[in-house]
Amino acid sequence: MTTVATVSEGTDNPYALSHLDSLESEAVHIFREVAGEFERPVILFSGGKDSILMLHLALKAFAPAPVPFTLLHVDTGHNFPEVLEYRDRTVAEHGLRLHVASVQEYIDAGKLRERPDGTRNPLQTVPLTEAIQQHRFDAVFGGGRRDEEKARAKERVFSLRDEFSQWDPRRQRPELWQLYNGRHAAGEHVRVFPISNWTELDVWQYIEREGIELPEIYFAHEREVFNRSGMWLTAGDWGGPKEHERTETRQVRYRTVGDMSCTGAVDSDATTLDAVITEIAASRLTERGATRADDKMSEAAMEDRKREGYF
């Protein structure tokens, strides 16, 4: 009777891929599927580690030819200057084309209103969806990972969005094998998540393996910060600190890069990739739990935003 394991080969098979190689191969396959099937794909590129990773994978996927996609950044107007500098330098280095959708321009034009809490992350949805329509993008790459958040854990790799960019989790197409179905009607588009199956630790380990350069804010440095709702926010023109909030200098780093008004820093002395990886492996907090205010607004905050067109 076969009641115990019948196989004991172990994992020393010469053809077994390391998990990073498996994830890389899968992501490259997804990039190439989109290149093969869509007319006007675009990569969302913020200068954050996930989008940097995606660009790196795209460069490898099409080498020695250039990446056959343009880039799109939704600039909240409250971005870290170091990150914008990195963004522009990278775009120039690889001869890419970058579209910028500006939340500030929407506010200045009276098309969006500043929120009382000063958070601009939810305001990105309108400029994003309008940019998609304006440029008629039919596939939009996002760096979303399923390990980030419980609603994202339910997201397909190919996620069909209607003409309003809405996500309907109950009407998702089953995703079978590696056969991604990208068919869509005119006006609809597909959000594509090539690094769905990566975890935060995978991202960092891959960045280390590949020697990918990152903006400085990911590594420990001295910074003027103040505490709001338990998070260390960077002081700046965007609207902090308020009168009752005190600024102090702390040694911090960022685990995610987003709008300055809702992305917190963590105390850290990790100044190298090695140290960052060790710190993450030991952390008892997820990256979004540690540093993102916008996900804590309600139990289903991410799902609600995604339904409206957020990525």
Binding site: V4, S22, W177, E303
Partner: protein, 447 residues
Amino acid sequence: MTTPIQLAESLSTTTLLRFATAGSVDDGKSTLVGRLLHDSKSVLTDQLEAVQDASRKRGQEAPDLALLTDGLRAEREQGITIDVAYRYFATPRRRFILADTPGHVQYTRNMVTGASTAELAVVLVDARNGVVEQTRRHAAVAALLRVPHVVLAVNKMDLVDYAEPVFAAMAEEFTAYAASLGVPEITAIPISALAGDNVVEPSAHMDWYGGPTVLEHLETVPVSHDLTACHARFPVQYVIRPQTAEHPDYRGYAGQIAAGVFRVGEPVTVLPSGRTSTIAGIDLLGDSVDIAWAPQSVTVRLADDVDVSRGDLIAPSDDAPAVTQDVEATVCHVADQPLTVGQRVLIKHTTRTVKAIVKDIPSRLTLDDLSQHPAPGQLIANDIGRVVVRTAEPLALDAYADSRRTGSFLLIDPADGTTLSAGMAGASFAAVTQAPAPAGDDAEWDF
């Protein structure tokens, strides 16, 4: 106890196992998943706090671990799992992607979704109830999808006094049943997910059991097959032609190797055209290599200037598949709209999408008792049945039994792009014709 530093170091060289769980509503699947995640440090403090908060708001005293995986509003409101959730965890020995699939029978399509990419399926049973219809359904889906490894986790052993005969009888019944369906490897493990017996730690209550815990088994099961026995297959995804000063003549065929091994110098045939050439070079994401294998994403260069484009398949000349326009297959129907005889569809096979027509639906399988119903006329959501499809252009199709990647396809509604059915080409359960039906079940397997 592994330190974080050891964990980080070992993680960069480990392999990846994709597995799926299946079980009925009250078999303790959430508890098992919760314990695997929890004991491998994959539930972090903020996630656990969020679950505790949500549970308290619902008036529950203990944290409801199902809320870890039930991420959608509708799921949390109704307390059921609607859709597959993907979970990630790691041990120093391996990284895991878990497709957590709902157990309700009406969500068979979700188990098919989870199992389609899984190397291993964990089928959970309640030790008090034994192998029930639902267990047979799960085993049948795992067999149909050709999941190479199946684990029977006999849960709630604490409620049957950890009695060996209870476990042994179920293990024997299930192993005979699953083997008759053609499941290549079956492992039965007695566990208590609630008490923690044999999930991560060996049980102190079951000295009679000499096998691995669930986690040990997940960590050691082989993830790559014997590639020398596989037919090498390379579907072309995209043609890379830089046309730059640096690379004026570069013409590479980009794709992910679907099965087997390719070597530089090997004579190959391009299908469906049948043109032949030799592999002049293989580029592995920037590095030139002599040999590459599944599932590596590579770029292949050929010695001759033959016409190759997206949708073509490159295979060794001495081991190329036949091309056909008549596809016989088993499908699981995954859409709400039915699939009918005479319907015009698209078939997506590897990187090739062609028009097709459903010529016949010879039979439909009832998963409840595995009986077959001849000529149903149509298939509705969650039905599994045999179909005959005629395609407008030839496909280089393998039997699903030989290659999950080049034997699988989707049927798509050309009008609105809906994924209609998941298809598996060739005969259904390979081992079934000779296998005797289990006692008390006179079903015919060859549907």
